[in-house]
């Protein structure tokens, strides 16, 4: 079974909630297939305060005002079980979680 060390960038509010300081990206270890679901499961397991903030509790649906980007592409609507781009799985590119730029 392969291990992946995936680079993740969180919105500032979620960094604070997770108790992270600074603006650097974080590394999340994913065991097995590198999918969006596996990555977010691993992220929430490492930072339990993030549960329910990126995906809704229950159905684990992406929250409406958040988007996932990788390799300069919006992959928000990809299946959560589809493989992440190889560049993300291998750690060359970052998995970016972005809040919609809206509201006051």
């Amino acid at each position: 079974m392969s291990n992946h060390k995936i680079r993740v960038e969180l919105p500032q509010h979620l960094r604070t909630l997770a108790g992270l300081t600074g603006n650097n990206e974080i590394f999340v270890e994913v065991v097995g297939d590198a999918t969006q679901r596996a990555l977010l499961d691993a992220l929430e397991a490492r930072y339990p305060a993030l549960r329910g903030t990126i995906r809704e509790h229950g159905k684990l649906k992406r929250r409406a005002f958040l988007r996932f980007f990788a390799c300069e592409t919006d992959i928000s609507h990809e299946s959560p079980d589809a493989p992440l781009p190889e560049a993300v799985a291998s750690g060359r590119e970052v998995f970016l979680i972005l809040g919609a730029i809206a509201g006051g």
């Binding site: 909630l17 549960r51 903030t53 509790h57 929250r63 005002f65 958040l66 919609a100 509201g103």
Partner: protein
């Protein structure tokens, strides 16, 4: 000397205002959770260092924060509020069925005796309880399931359970209020519920005297007379002397009986405070004058309290959970405005001064009296 701690929830964070019993010099800490909406914070009567805070945003949803040191530090606890069983539907604004969906916590009500026990009133309206300090939450589903739930409809601000009152003399008795369903009472610690809206008259609903459907804005109870309740409804200030079984209008000479906040003096059970707001389409004080009205006769006769409050060009609102009263002998009354001011009176409302003037819009104000 006693201390008071005023807990302020705003559109962009939480603030803790602390002073000794003289309440002259205030220490302001915050913003805590800067940038997030803080609908409500409330301390445990059993342990003033235990405070629960509702933190939310449209982007990231609901967070529940807990402090065990009086608001100096905070830790997130469980934010999962799962309706019991299949949630079913309530009515949407247009009268069509709409599935129950969790949106946010409007109000925390800690137990009177156990700091780990706390109730949460949420939108879409339901009552949850934690018995482990917020580590887990369970719905008291008898409320939504008592029969009228499918008839409930949201108010303009959403279908929120915003008021939870625990009877200090009867641990089994709980009152709650929902916009726009009305008031409900449980006499068995939240297992079963009944609507308590007899006497309410709401001309804007198809049946103005319906069992449910009334837009109750807030309810207050005096702790030594838990059967006497005071209500600020959408329109009308109301009173019940029989634990909500019957209500009567006590609006009397108020300049308008629309408003949100209502509270009771801790030492004078017939002394009430409201902040009249012009109308449901103009959420600001009449004539641009910010006036608290006090009744010392249990309603009907009201006097305006204006000293220290702006009496011209004031167009702020005072929301339902944004008024609180401390328990000191010369009781302090506090309220926050959507303009970011938190006003305090240390003489039962005779005069007022701002503790802070330029916070984000204030959503809630609670006060802890610490011996």
């Amino acid at each position: 000397m006693s201390q008071v701690r005023v807990l302020v929830g705003t559109k962009k964070g939480a603030f803790v205002l602390a002073a000794d019993g003289k309440r002259e010099n205030w220490q302001v800490s915050g913003p805590h959770f800067g940038g997030w909406e803080i609908y409500h914070l409330k301390g445990s009567p059993a342990d003033p260092n235990r405070i629960y805070a509702s933190q939310s945003s449209s982007w990231f949803g609901q967070i529940v924060q807990r402090s065990d040191d009086g608001g100096a530090t905070w830790n997130p606890v469980n934010n999962k509020f799962a309706y019991e069983g299949t949630p079913g539907t309530h009515q949407w604004y247009d009268g069509t069925p709409h599935p129950w969906e969790f949106k946010r916590v409007w109000h925390f009500e800690p137990s009177l005796t156990d700091p780990d026990s706390v109730y949460a009133g949420i939108e879409d309206a339901a009552l949850f309880q934690s018995k482990d300090g917020g580590i887990s939450w369970t719905e008291l589903s008898g409320l939504r399931g008592h029969g009228t739930g499918p008839e409930w409809q949201p108010g303009a601000g959403g279908m929120c359970l915003h008021t939870v009152i625990l009877d200090p003399e009867d641990a089994n008795r709980i009152y709650i209020a929902i916009s726009a369903a009305g008031a409900f009472r449980s006499d068995d610690a939240g297992q079963s519920w009944k609507p308590i809206n007899r006497g309410l008259y709401s001309k804007y609903i198809p049946n103005p005297t319906a069992e449910v459907g009334h837009c109750v804005h807030h309810i207050a109870m005096h702790p030594t007379r838990p059967g006497v309740l005071f209500m600020q409804k959408h329109w009308d200030v109301m009173r019940s002397d029989d634990a909500g079984d019957n209500w009567r209008d006590i609006s009397g000479n108020l300049p308008t009986d629309f408003g949100f906040a209502i509270d009771v003096h801790p030492h004078e059970s017939e002394t009430l405070f409201v902040v009249p707001i012009k109308s449901d389409s103009e959420h600001y004080p009449p004539e641009g004058k910010l006036r608290v009205y006090r009744s010392r006769s249990g309603g009907e006769e009201w006097e305006p309290l204006t000293r220290g409050l702006p009496q011209e060009n004031c167009y702020v609102n005072v929301l339902r959970d944004a008024m609180a009263i401390d328990r000191l002998d010369d009781c302090g009354v506090y309220f926050g405005t959507t303009g970011g001011q938190v006003y305090a009176s240390t003489n039962s409302g005779d005069s007022w001064s701002p503790i802070v003037r330029d916070l984000p819009a204030v959503l809630s104000v609670e006060v802890q009296t610490i011996p």
